[in-house]
Structures are given as structure tokens and as C-alpha cells.
């Protein structure tokens, strides 16, 4: 590890000025839980790290929009803050449930919502959940400010659409009446292993019928991926066993899961079918 500078700016403007659109060895750092591992493994050798921890206001806070239609989560929010927020508990209870099996207290105390998204690691638990919730992020950088769907952040294995010098400032989760969401973290070895796959589902029921649904597959592919064909099988239909089986088959067909040491492709396809059914049944109260 080479020497590097650690900057701790106290405003977003200062942070942006310290970042460098032409130098990928200059990076922002949130909780550092992912970045430090990359540095230890010598995958990443920074010349300058710009800590976002002291930026405060612009990257902090969890607020309900005035019309109550969405929740804004500052990118610097830690997982523990997220977990303990009454607003999140009330409007997005799925997040609290995901946190129970996400990392450990020490990591959750420092890992940030922004760092988690910007890292682009396909194994992470939260990104597919944010995608299932149809969340978006605000990104600020040298060329101004933009808002994009979380789904559009991910471009491939550890690849995001963020440019050097850009910072995620906040996440917006739309709040939809009657929507329910759940996430199945499917591990195939020790309980704290990375998931072999993660299945995130949000749906709006209408009696026995699934009025609307979003399904996102995490961990098994290069990036969290929406399973639109499976969604189309289920949308507008009652969630019967046969239909769920068909949806499972469709899901396994619309993606190309590869074998790795958490499971063969065949086995993971099977797990996807089973867990998609289980999550949807749970959400439909069956």
C-alpha cells in the first residue's frame, strides 16, 4: 500500500472540488468497508481519498417528501441509521428485515447507503431491494446534477454508470399504497456467506390477484437484474401454484446463471424457482 492523502471536507462543494474527474486514483469514501478491502488486496491504490463523513447536511437525513409520495435517504446515511429510522420502519419495513442478516453491527455502523450503491458488487443485499422498490438516486458531479433509477446505476460486474468525480447524494424511494416487499437471501454454506442468490420482490395485491409486481435477482449474475418476463407472467393474475411454477421457469429461462462455488447453474436455477415462489406466496399471505 502506497501513501495517500485523506481529505475530510465539511461541505459537498468542497468534496466535489477535491475529487477529480480525470483521475480514478482519487475516490470518495463513505464507510470504507468495501474500499479498504480493495486497498488491502491491492486492487485499488488511491492517491487521495475524500471522506464524505463530515459533509453532513447534503448527504444526510431521512425525510418524507411533502406530499408523502417518497422517502429521501441521504447517501451518507449509515445502515444502522437506516435500520433505526422510524420513517424507514414505517414506510419500508423490508429494509429493517434485510438488515438483520446483512453483515454485522460493526459494518452496519459505518457502511453507507451511497457507498453500498456505488460499489457495484453484485452480491450485495440492498441494491436488488432498492430496485424492487423502484428507487432512484441523485448524482452530483463536474457536469452537474442528474437523477437516475438505481437500476440504471449498474452496468456490469463492479461497474456503475458513475463517472470519476461524481458523488451520489441521496436515494429516493417512491412510496406506493398497499405495496409489500420482501427479500430472500439464499445462502448455501455458512450463514454469513455471500448469498448464492438474492430474490427481491415488491408487489401490490388486489385481493388474490397480483396487481403489480417487480422482481429483482441479486448475487447470481454480474449485476442485480430485473426479471421482467417472470413479472409479466404474474402481473394481473391470481398467485396460484401453477402460475408460480410457470413464473419460476420463466425466471430461470430469462437469465443465464453460471456455476460458481456457491452452486452449479442448475442448482441455482432451481433455487430461483423455489424462492421466487416462496417470496411471492409470503407477500400474498399464502
Amino acid at each position: 500500500m502506497k501513501n495517500f492523502d485523506l481529505e475530510e471536507p465539511e461541505s459537498l462543494a468542497e468534496a466535489l472540488a477535491l475529487l477529480d474527474e480525470d483521475d480514478s486514483a482519487v475516490r470518495p469514501i463513505g464507510g470504507g468497508t468495501a474500499l479498504m478491502l480493495m486497498m488491502k488486496a491491492q486492487f485499488f491504490e488511491p492517491t487521495r481519498l475524500v471522506s464524505l463523513r463530515k459533509v453532513g447536511g447534503a448527504l444526510g437525513g431521512i425525510d418524507l417528501s411533502e406530499d408523502g409520495s417518497s422517502l429521501r435517504v441521504g447517501a451518507g446515511t449509515t445502515f444502522t441509521q437506516l435500520q433505526q429510522s422510524p420513517l424507514v420502519q414505517k414506510h419500508l419495513p423490508v429494509i429493517g428485515r434485510v438488515m438483520k442478516t446483512l453483515a454485522n453491527v460493526r459494518v452496519r455502523n459505518v457502511a453507507t447507503v451511497g457507498g453500498n450503491l456505488a460499489h457495484g458488487d453484485p452480491h450485495l443485499d440492498l441494491p436488488p431491494v432498492w430496485m424492487a422498490l423502484d428507487a432512484a438516486v441523485d448524482v452530483v458531479g463536474p457536469s452537474g446534477e442528474r437523477r437516475l433509477a438505481v437500476a440504471d446505476l449498474f452496468q456490469g460486474y463492479y461497474e456503475t454508470s458513475l463517472a470519476d468525480g461524481e458523488v451520489i447524494t441521496a436515494l429516493y424511494a417512491p412510496l406506493v399504497e398497499d405495496r409489500r416487499a420482501a427479500y430472500a437471501k439464499v445462502t448455501t454454506r455458512a450463514s454469513h456467506d455471500w448469498p448464492a442468490l438474492g430474490v427481491a420482490v415488491s408487489l401490490v395485491p388486489d385481493g388474490d390477484v397480483i396487481a403489480d409486481i417487480r422482481i429483482v435477482l441479486g448475487a447470481a449474475l454480474d449485476m442485480p437484474t430485473r426479471l421482467t418476463a417472470a413479472e409479466n407472467v404474474l402481473r394481473g393474475q391470481p398467485a396460484g401454484d401453477d402460475l408460480l411454477a410457470t413464473a419460476g421457469e420463466t425466471a430461470a429461462e430469462e437469465v443465464d446463471i453460471e456455476s460458481d462455488h456457491r452452486g452449479s447453474a442448475g442448482y441455482k436455477n432451481h433455487l430461483l424457482k423455489i424462492y421466487l415462489g416462496r417470496v411471492v406466496r409470503e407477500l400474498m399471505g399464502r
Partner: protein
């Protein structure tokens, strides 16, 4: 805590002597050590599993500002003409010498004042290899044309390997044989024959403290500060390498953050010694967690087991062929091969037994001892096999085992008598805790339930010696000088309890010296569950000698026998002031008879028997194969539990570790390359993986010749656990899995064999 009546130190859960130091972060470890002028070494490793080294380019690394020197084997040869080491074979070079034999083998070292500079420079080294085909699997290695070593080089320290000297054209480092009765005649007389082949996977020790050693070589003596379980062996082997007498090599060992058999024999010690000798400055090498995968692993093995059974359920013949994948260097593999080999037929009274056990070289990281010296791997095979026989014959698994179990007074397959082995008691207790005789709910629908048990036995490395010194100072306080290394098992406390019991002292007031070979006497090593029995006896003898000397002093000073004048007063009277010492020494080597090389027969093959049983219950999700071990019971025979709390900690620690080896841990290789060499991908269990109902018990028992009736405890609960879990899974799903680890995918495939790809 103080003990009210100091004469009662045995069977007391005295808190660990070092507990406070450890929880307050003050305990000493080699990782903390910094010496003036010390250089840090970082290792450049081979990227190919087998190849001739064409060139190593260190020029760019050497040019990095702050780099002191880059070292390859050519430099090492300047100071060590024959830089090969190992406990059984002198087969391992200090750095790769002309050839690399596994991916991850050390090829060069960068030395720098700043370890980060050294690490950065390592990344700039390049090497070119003429790649050779490699051999990975132990069964293939038996007959492969690919040879890991051109010539076998047995070390003189094991006289029974000498006949292998100079042999070439083979990967078989050692073949161990045992013959008892006539196994073919036994099969001919049997009503039923059963045969299975089971395997275990490569795993590693994963101590929390990775390997670390510091060498400080001066003109006429050297000091090694090292995280080693076997400082006496380190001194002998380093002295041999240097051609120095032992008294010029000093080995100091503070606490260890775990060892589990990994930190035995020579690990980093030869390398740091050679480096320090070369540069005449202290050198430290501390491995990262990830590098540990390339230091030493546990032997995978392939075990073919065949039994002949009469129709009323008596096993009358058993043939065992065990092949151990020893990796590129033998380390202590030949001992594993023999020690585990000799109990490969299990804890059963079988008239006709044949055992063949082979240590083979492959192009994998070396394998060595890991908490059981092979006993857990073989127990996996013989206890699943035994369970399968019972199930197939429709005999209750506990009854079948009871019918065939070895009893005290009977000869084990080696001819050594079974004594002080509570096999029945541990099996009965495990069955009772499982509620074996009660009806069991097998579940239904998606979740199926199963239960299983197993019982196992092991012999102990023999013959081995321990020496202890008890030193009572002028004020009557006591120092204990021993080579046993406290690596978390609590040996300091137990040894103090033994000395205190003899000397009528308070164990918590005794000071246990940590190994410093300039000061502490010889000990063969902290390994193989041997310390409580061997060192414990040496400590008892040393304390008894000291006690006798105190009595003699009383007589000399005309005190009536049994007077309660304290030692400090006696010494003051003798010397006229607070002065002098009472020194007692004790040396212990158990009785031993070398097994016949052709038949493995011996009247005294082991000083005592390690005995354990386990019971498990599982719940299997039949849709996915995912399962949970809901209940896990380990029952062991440790003789007298000198410190019950520490014994329980040993049982539970070994059980959790073995649960990892059973269900979550596996070093995965592809074309000789390790695929999951980090703790993010190689999964040891954590607290959430510990079963809800987790019990760790010992039975009432006494090792007649052990110190206060005690014997070893460190490894015993590793043996029966895997087959107990495997047998429970089989009970739930109706199919026995033959290959470890037991994974959800393996269970799923066993449940749905027809599914092909899915």
C-alpha cells in the same frame, strides 16, 4: 479467584491464568514484536502448480525506494548450503529451488523496513516457468507418471522411513500396513459383505493469528520469536540447518492465537532464519489471513472400506485402504498416515483386519496435522460405513455398535490392549442425550428430520517426551518451566493446577514460564491431545521431587515430619536470609513398542486412547436441500477433567471447528489453483451456525496412569461429529452422502437424483 482450600485444585474450574491479560489486550503475541533494525519480509509466490523456474526477475522490485534486498534461493545458498527442511522428509526448500510444486509456493522475498513497501515491491517481481503437468488428486497420484519429487529424502529423525532414502519415480512417501488375523478368511466366512468409498475435502486450520516468526541471528547465537506449537523441534531443526549446537539457538514463544496443528514443526522459521543470517539484521515475516492457505492444510483422503458381517450382526473382517493427499511437501503427513491408519478400522472388536494407508505427494499446498492427526477423516468413513451396514441389515444402529465395540482388556487391531477407554459410556451418553430409545418425529411434507450418531477412537503420537521444572523461590512462590504452548486451550492453568495439587499451593498463584528454550526444558510439542497426559505427568513428577526436597530440608533443619512451617521460613533458616531455590525436575516418556513394519503389531502402540461419540439431529428442506443441524451432542472421555470448564471449552471449540469441516469449509481447486483463498469465500462457521441445542459433555472416567487420572482433550470431539451429522442427514433423506462436505446442493442432488441438470 482464590481457592479456599489450596489442596483441592483438581476437577476445579479455575479461571484461566491469562484471562485478564487477554481480555484487556495486554497478552504478548509475536505479531506485536518489533526489534531495533528489524526488516519485514513479504513473499512472492508461484502462480503455477508445477514447473521449472526459468527466471525470476527481481530488478524492478529491488529498485523500489526503501527496499533493502530481494532474496531468492540462490542467495539463501550462500548461507545455507543445503536449505531443505521437514520433520519426516527433508523435502521442503526454504524458497523454491529450481522447481515449484504448488501454486502459492514461496519463490522470493522482499525485505524492507516498511512492510507496505515490501508488499508493493513484491507486486513488481516476475517469474517465468516451464510449466509441467501437475497431479492434484490422491488416487491419481498413486499411479501417475507425474512425479512431484524426483527423489525421496526421508529425514533421519524417523528411523522407520530410512528405507525410502533415494527412492525415485513415485509419489508415495509412505505406505503403512497393519495385519491382524486373516482378512480374506474373514470375508469368506461372512454372510454379508459391504464396501464403500468415502472422501474428505481439503480444509485449513484458520487460526485467528496467522503465521508469524522473527529471527535475530547474531555472530554466535540466534533468537527466534515464533508462533510455534513445537519450540523444541524448531530449535533442533534450525540447529541442524545451521550446523550449530542447540545451545546457540534460542526459541521463544509467547501466547498463540490458535494453532490447531498448523503451527507445528517448521513453518516460517527456516525462512526467517536464513534471511536474518544473510542480512545480519532481525527479520520478521507475518502472513496475511489469505497467505495461510498456502502454508499448511488438512489432508483430504480417499478411503475404501470393506466389511464382512455375520447374519447376527458381528463384524468379523474389515479391510481399509486410505490414501492421503499430502500436497507438495510431506510435513508431518507420514505420521498422520500411520497414526490415523492404525485406528482406521474404528473402535470395533474385529478379528480380521487389514489396513493400508498411503501418504502421497501432489501439486497442492502441503498438508499436515489438524486437530486429530487424520482421525476425523477416517472416522467419517468408518462410522458412515458402520451406519450403512446397520441400516441395511435392519439392526438398530446403537445396538449394532454396542455389539461390536472394543471393550477394556481386548486387543485393538494393532494388538495393543484397550484400557481406560470409556467407549460404551460415551456411546450410551450420546444415545441417551438424543433420546435414542424414544420415538422420533421424522417430519413430513417439505421438512424432513433425521438423527444420527457415531463413536470413534484414536491413538496418540508415540513415543514422545516432556520435561518440566518446578522452581520454588526464596519466598516460597512457585515458577513452572515447561515447553507446552498455551495457544488458547488453557494449558498454563491446567499445568499450574497439577503442580499446585502436589505442592499444596493455590494454582492461580503459580507463574507459568512461556517457552524460551534457553530456560524451559524439552517438550516434543503441543500436539495430538498429548500435553495434559505427558507434560502433566512431567509436571507432577517435578512437583513431587520438589516436595520431597522440601521434606528433606525439614529433616535437615530438625523439623518434625508434617510440621507446617512454610517453605520461605525453612529457606530463611537454611540460608540466613531470603535466598535459595527448591528445584524439582520431571521427565516423562510413556512405554512404547515400535509396531512391526509388516503387520503394525505392537503391545504398546499408544500411551492412551482418545475416545469420543457424537449425536446430531437435522432438519432438511427437501425442496432445496438446505439443512440445519438442530441438535449437536459431543461426549468425550478425558479421564479426570482437571478443569471442567476448560475441557468443555475444548469440546465445544473442536465441535464447532469440525462442524465447519463437515458442512461449510472446502478449499476449492481448479487446475491446481486455489479458487477461494480468502475468508470471504472460504467459510468457517460463525455463532449463527452453532446448533440451537449444542451440548458438550464428558463422562466419568479415569486414565489410571494419567496425572490425577487425566488424559488429553483437545481433539477428541472432532472425530465422531462428521459421521454423526452425515448419518442424521441420511436418516432424514434416505441416502448416505459419501463425500464431505455435506452441502445443500449435495443433499438436493441426493434427494432428486433424476433431475439431471437442475
Amino acid at each position: 479467584m482464590t481457592v479456599d482450600d489450596p489442596a483441592h485444585n483438581i476437577s476445579q474450574s479455575i479461571p484461566r491464568l491469562e484471562g485478564r491479560q487477554k481480555v484487556t489486550g495486554r497478552a504478548e503475541y509475536v505479531h506485536h514484536l518489533r526489534l531495533p533494525g528489524m526488516l519485514y519480509g513479504k513473499i512472492f509466490r508461484s502462480t503455477v502448480p508445477h514447473g521449472r523456474i526459468l527466471s525470476v526477475d527481481v530488478s524492478e522490485a529491488a529498485a523500489v525506494p526503501g527496499v533493502f534486498r530481494v532474496v531468492t534461493i540462490d542467495d539463501i545458498r550462500e548461507v545455507l548450503p543445503d536449505p531443505y527442511y521437514g520433520p519426516a522428509f527433508h523435502d521442503q526448500p526454504v524458497l523454491a529451488d529450481g522447481k515449484v510444486r504448488f501454486a502459492g509456493e514461496p519463490v522470493a522475498v522482499v525485505l524492507a523496513k516498511d512492510p507496505r513497501v515490501a508488499a508493493q515491491a513484491v507486486a513488481l517481481i516476475t517469474a517465468e516457468y516451464d510449466e509441467l503437468p501437475s497431479v492434484d488428486n490422491e488416487v491419481e497420484a498413486m499411479t501417475s507418471d507425474i512425479h512431484v519429487h524426483d527423489e525421496l529424502k526421508p529425514a533421519a529423525s524417523f528411523p522407520d522411513l530410512n528405507h525410502l532414502k533415494g527412492q525415485s519415480g513415485t509419489n508415495v512417501a509412505l505406505g503403512y500396513k497393519l495385519r491382524h488375523g486373516d482378512v480374506e478368511a474373514g470375508f469368506a466366512a461372512a454372510d454379508h459383505i459391504f464396501e464403500h468409498t468415502l472422501t474428505t475435502q481439503p480444509v485449513m486450520h484458520t487460526p485467528m493469528e496467522p503465521f508469524v516468526s522473527v529471527a535475530d541471528v547474531r555472530d554466535d547465537h540466534m533468537t527466534l520469536h515464533t508462533a510455534s506449537q513445537g519450540p523444541s523441534f524448531v530449535r533442533i531443526e534450525i540447529a541442524r540447518l545451521l550446523g550449530w549446537p542447540e545451545n546457540r539457538v534460542r526459541v521463544k514463544v509467547p501466547f498463540l492465537g490458535g494453532g490447531f496443528g498448523g503451527k507445528l514443526y517448521i513453518k516460517l522459521e527456516a525462512l526467517v532464519t536464513a534471511l536474518s543470517l544473510l542480512v545480519r539484521q532481525p527479520v520478521k515475516i507475518a502472513l496475511s489471513m489469505e497467505e495461510q492457505f498456502f502454508m499448511v492444510t488438512r489432508h483430504p483422503c480417499t478411503f475404501n472400506i470393506k466389511s464382512g458381517v455375520t447374519k447376527d450382526g458381528k463384524i468379523i473382517a474389515r479391510a481399509c485402504e486410505v490414501i492421503w493427499n499430502g500436497g507438495a511437501y510431506a510435513d508431518i503427513g507420514p505420521r498422520v498416515t500411520q497414526k490415523a491408519g492404525f485406528t482406521a478400522a474404528g473402535p470395533y472388536d474385529i478379528d480380521n483386519v487389514s489396513i493400508d494407508s498411503y501418504a502421497v505427494y501432489t501439486n497442492r499446498p502441503p498438508a499436515g496435522a489438524l486437530r486429530g492427526f487424520g482421525a476425523p477423516q477416517i472416522a467419517w468413513a468408518y462410522e458412515c460405513h458402520t451406519d450403512m451396514i446397520a441400516r441395511e441389515m435392519g439392526i438398530d444402529q446403537v445396538d449394532f455398535r454396542r455389539k461390536n465395540l472394543l471393550r477394556n482388556g481386548r486387543p485393538q487391531a494393532s494388538g495393543t490392549l484397550i484400557r481406560d477407554a470409556a467407549l460404551d459410556a460415551v456411546l450410551d451418553r450420546a444415545a441417551e442425550r438424543l433420546g435414542w430409545s424414544l420415538p422420533f418425529d421424522p417430519g413430513g411434507g417439505r421438512i424432513k428430520r433425521g438423527r444420527g450418531l457415531a463413536v470413534a477412537i484414536k491413538g496418540i503420537t508415540a513415543p514422545t517426551t516432556s520435561v518440566a521444572i518446578v522452581n520454588l523461590y526464596g519466598d516460597g512462590s512457585c515458577g513452572l518451566y515447561i515447553g507446552t504452548v498455551d495457544m488458547g486451550q488453557g494449558s498454563d492453568t491446567v499445568m499450574a493446577q497439577i503442580a499446585a495439587e502436589v505442592l499444596n499451593l493455590d494454582a492461580s498463584k503459580i507463574r507459568v514460564m512461556h517457552t524460551d528454550t534457553d530456560v524451559t526444558p524439552y517438550d516434543m510439542g503441543t500436539l495430538g491431545s498429548r500435553s495434559t497426559f505427558h507434560m502433566g505427568t512431567a509436571v507432577r513428577l517435578a512437583a513431587e521431587e520438589a516436595r520431597d526436597k522440601i521434606e528433606a530440608l525439614r529433616v535437615e533443619l530438625d523439623e518434625p515430619a508434617g510440621s507446617n512451617i512454610p517453605l520461605s521460613e525453612l529457606l530463611r533458616r537454611k540460608y540466613g536470609m531470603q535466598a535459595g531455590n527448591i528445584i524439582g525436575t520431571g521427565s516423562f516418556i510413556p512405554e512404547y513398542e515400535k509396531p512391526d513394519p509388516d503387520t503394525g503389531q505392537s503391545r504398546a502402540a499408544t500411551p492412551f486412547w482418545g475416545v469420543g461419540a457424537a449425536g446430531a439431529e437435522v432438519e432438511v428442506d427437501t425442496e432445496t436441500g438446505q439443512f440445519e443441524v438442530t441438535r449437536l451432542i459431543s461426549v468425550v472421555d478425558v479421564g479426570t477433567a482437571i478443569n471442567p470448564k476448560l475441557v468443555e471449552a475444548q469440546i465445544s471449540g473442536a465441535a464447532i471447528m469440525q462442524l465447519g469441516f463437515t458442512t461449510t469449509e472446502e478449499m476449492l481447486f481448479q487446475d491446481g489453483q486455489l479458487l477461494n483463498g480468502s475468508l470471504a469465500d472460504y467459510k468457517i462457521p460463525n455463532m449463527l451456525d452453532v446448533p440451537r441445542d449444542f451440548r458438550n459433555e464428558f463422562v466419568e472416567s479415569r486414565q489410571q496412569d494419567g496425572p490425577f487420572g487425566a488424559k488429553g482433550a483437545g481433539e477428541i470431539s472432532t472425530m465422531a461429529l462428521s459421521p454423526a451429522v452425515g448419518n442424521a442427514v441420511a436418516d432424514a433423506i434416505g441416502t448416505y452422502l459419501l463425500d464431505m462436505p455435506i452441502t445443500p446442493e449435495a443433499v438436493y442432488r441426493a434427494l432428486h437424483p433424476a433431475d439431471g441438470d437442475a
